[in-house]
Assembly symmetry: C2
Homo-oligomer: 409 residues x 2
């Protein structure tokens, strides 16, 4: 009998009623003859509430103690879900991350899974139990609990699916799949039935909130088929699969969709002297402060020095600008910045062998009179940085011009 | 340098403000040069809230999952207290029961400590850390968390004090010590400066709520000196000590105090045929149902059979009466019961070598016209079961007649 891993996020287990609904769904899946491992996040706003408490007792709480504190959120959810399953006569056992054999390394608050020892999970499945595992956590080499940081529960689910050789990993969330664009912006947007992990990862990095790219990439690495579904309604959702099988050959599309992100700001160092190590001098101080840099553009060297531009989240703008100013000053340049930006990306493996997507994108935006501040491309995506107040319009224009609404699904 | 174990109950850590106040107190104790192990309960009503959630998802939640759920309450408190200490520049590390080396056996929800491996605690103390341990929990042989049931946090503290050979165990609570009687009933009641563990255990079993008798008895067994103090104000509190030292010779009193309990009901089996095994037939079914029996009185065999009477909490009255009826019927007797009772006890090691305390107690109650329903005595206490509505009067009469208010403290 096949093993399936299911993952339910915080909004799916927000209240006792929600937990009972999840139990109902798990119970039905089990009734269809599957061995189930269920990964659960903390209830609704629990993590926020705990962080607020931490903020009340300390201005700068230690990462180890934050992890001790936050791990309890998932531990409560798993116990409650086990009880709700028992109430439906479904045998179930809850496990914390450490109990489930999740071994984690790295830093508190952003641990990475180093190993999973699934013996206890297999033994419990052999006893016909539904095994419920706390997401987002594992045990480090000191025997302490460590959380996995952003996307941790998705990552737990995908990693477990790989470790127990599950048929698939089902991610239940508050939307019913991945869309060609945000349906709140583009009314013609539609659900993507099948998407490659590479496309899904790009879409996640570029702004799609459905699944964390870290989990998508882990799934790609271990060949885990991931199904993104709604926890509130029935439906096939979106299947993320590498497609070495033929079953999705016809439904797979060349262009996956348009994603956007409204939280972008830009810092530019103009006219700096360049040489070996210049870029490292610019970006190392940002990395030390834990500031994530997204798009990076460097002009070639020209008269008057080179220009280097990069984007960061708006919350990091002031700090990034300050750090860039210090370096820029030392290199004879001038720093300039722009805060209210967004970005729009066109993502699809279809781009791989068909040039011209970038040119088509620039033409669409140009015709609509939307200014482009920066451009970044990779094999399967083109991203343009734009003024934030033009982003929604850009998404609609591109969705139309790339004919995403006309596809037959 | 000496080690001191401190324990703070749920009301002492009910809010972020309370936790900061505990951190302030711990910080001061540490400033006086002590190595500190701090045991903490769950915040205020956390345990009740979690039990309510459990009740919402299941009518009959499994004890293992209840323990998984409840253990998180203490885990949150210890992490928050560690953060609050860090905010005061006090190095501190929080440990769950399993991390602290608490090994537990028995049944979920009522585990008993089988072993403590204090290596990690000693190592952390050696690093000059305050070690904060989650009360009420430990790890069982399956690697799962198990809670200790009623009095569990007091028991954790006393057991840790024994394991690390602490100078003393300080129990911080919402009263400033143990009193000669409930000060809400007897205004002349005063704090007892020093009490023996035997007296304290009797007082706890007989109704004093300050400390759980289980923890008191463990302290007596391992010679742990226990200090009961208020977490809200300064003061010496009450010292529970075996007194093999001479320091408390003069302050130790012959009669400790008067305790009472308003939650008593009585079941009597009248005229049953007795023989070997009769008492076992009466009490085994109660034990199987987990019903605690307190006072037991058996009349000698007389014409028409023997009478057996016992008391239980009011919540168990109906069930206990039903079980007694079944046995009584088989033994040719008749069951009778009385629900609204209470009990009053006079406790003190001074009784050991001075007979007459029981007679004096009966005389006092008799003069006041208070009826006595049952009597139970041991070497250091006399307990009378009375109508519940006469209990407060009985406490005042006995406090006066035994001249407890006249002692010079």
């Amino acid at each position: 009998m096949g093993i399936v891993v299911q993952k339910y996020g915080g909004s799916s287990v927000a209240t006792a009623q929600h937990i009972k609904a999840v139990a109902e769904r798990v119970s039905r899946a089990r009734g269809s003859g599957l061995d189930l491992v269920v990964v659960v996040s903390a209830m609704g706003k629990t993590t926020d509430r705990l962080l607020r408490l931490a903020g009340e007792v300390s201005r700068d709480p230690s990462p180890r103690e934050i992890d001790q504190l936050l791990a309890t959120g998932e531990e409560q959810s798993v116990a409650l879900l086990a009880m709700a399953l028992h109430a439906r006569e479904v045998p179930a056992v809850s496990l914390t991350g450490p109990q489930a054999g999740m071994t984690v390394t790295g830093r508190y608050g952003s641990g990475v899974i180093s190993e999973i020892r699934p013996e206890r999970i297999h033994r419990l499945l052999g006893e016909d139990q539904v095994v419920i595992v706390a997401g987002f956590q594992g045990m480090n080499s000191l025997g302490d609990v460590m959380t996995l940081g952003r996307g941790g529960s998705d990552t737990t689910a995908v990693a477990l699916a790989a470790a127990v050789k599950a048929e698939r990993c089902e991610i239940y969330t508050d939307v019913d799949g991945v869309y060609t664009a945000d349906p709140r912006i583009v009314k013609e947007a539609h659900r993507i039935p099948v998407i490659s992990p590479e496309e899904m990862a790009e879409m996640s990095w570029r702004g799609a909130k459905v699944m964390h790219p870290r989990a998508v990439e882990l799934g790609a690495l271990y060949g885990v088929e991931i199904h993104v579904r709604s926890s509130f309604e029935e439906g096939p959702g979106t299947v993320i699969t590498g497609g070495n099988g033929l079953e999705h050959l016809e439904t797979r599309e060349t262009l996956a969709g348009i994603v956007h992100d409204l939280d972008v700001s830009r810092v530019t160092l103009n006219g700096i002297r360049t040489g070996p190590g210049t870029l490292s001098r610019v970006f190392a101080p940002l990395a030390e402060r834990g500031i994530s840099v997204d798009v990076i553009v460097e002009s070639g060297v020209k008269e008057g020095g080179a220009d280097v531009a990069f984007t960061v989240r708006r919350a990091d703008f002031a700090e990034a600008r300050r750090l860039a100013s210090e370096v820029s000053y030392a290199l004879g340049g001038v720093v300039e910045g722009e805060e209210n930006l967004g970005k729009v990306s066109v993502v699809g493996t279809g781009m791989l062998n068909r040039p011209g997507y970038a040119a088509r994108m620039f033409a669409s935006l140009g015709e609509a009179g939307i200014p482009i501040r920066m451009v970044s491309t990779s094999e399967i995506q083109v991203t343009c940085v734009l003024p934030a107040d033009r982003v929604e319009e850009a998404v609609r224009v591109l969705h139309r011009d790339f004919e995403l609404e006309e596809r037959d699904v």
